[in-house]
């Protein structure tokens, strides 16, 4: 259906290096530190859109990008395809001896993590500040 999507990227203090937008999903990467990247995810993670996030996660670890924070605050739907991406990200982080944090604050994100028990395999935080605090220690 529609082509465009996502909000225009916000100009933040951190350097931005990419924007990927589908009709229903936008993923924006921010370099937070030398070995710390955040992916800001906005939209719905279903079987159609999740491969976009999977690509970004794999790119990050393939490039040895360090610790990764996936900010899911503005994700309005998280289906099994999106959960599988988070499970894969946890596996890749472990394989690269680095860390993954997932920021989850809404029912739309917390509920699927809880129902599948994935919240026991993926380290979630309730804010970016908490995640950064833990990773920069």
């Amino acid at each position: 259906m529609a082509e465009a999507g996502g909000q225009p990227p916000q100009q933040g203090a951190a350097s931005e290096y990419a924007v990927a937008a589908g009709a229903d999903l936008a993923v924006r990467a921010e370099q937070l530190g030398p070995n710390l990247v955040a992916l800001q995810v906005e939209g719905e993670l279903d079987m159609l859109t999740s491969p976009t996030l999977a690509d970004r996660v794999r790119e990050h670890f393939a490039a040895d990008g360090g610790a990764l924070v996936v900010d899911m605050t503005r994700v309005s739907f998280l289906g099994s395809a999106g959960l599988a991406v988070l499970a894969e990200a946890a596996g890749l982080a472990a394989a690269h001896a680095t860390e993954l944090r997932v920021i989850a604050t809404t029912t739309a994100v917390l509920r699927p993590l809880e129902v599948t028990g994935l919240d026991e395999r993926v380290h979630t935080c309730d804010s970016m500040a908490t995640a950064i605090g833990q990773l920069m220690r």
């Binding site: 009709a23 719905e44 159609l48 395809a81 599988a84 029912t107 699927p112 129902v115």
Partner: protein, 143 residues
Amino acid sequence: MSEHEPVSEEQSFSTDAEIRLRAELNHLPIVRSVAATIAIREDFDLDTVEDVKLAVDEMCSTLIVRARPGSVLSCKFQVSEGVIRLLAAVDSDSDQPIDQHSFGWRVLRTLTDSVTTWLSEEGTDARRLHIELVKADGLDGAG
């Protein structure tokens, strides 16, 4: 085992609402919004509304990726007394039933009180793949 016994025959399913769309993944948000609206109108709690969205999404995704190209996905809703029943189907070229050991199917089982799939033969080389599920308010299903 290419045939399963349906929980209820399609004929005995009393439909309150049906949505029909071309079997394409980009239509998933439409089915999710119908499911959410119905669950909210039933005064389901927030977690259960999310479960219904997740279940209908999983059910329809599973069917869409197995649908004959260009065919129509039908998803029927039946609601009564805090219980939602869903019956969805597509035309399929394959005679393989759905793999019930996949992650997606396990999620579907966790989310619902019951879930069943079966293939029906509709004349020579026409097959229909069905999923039926039941979800009651405030229950985590098997989870």
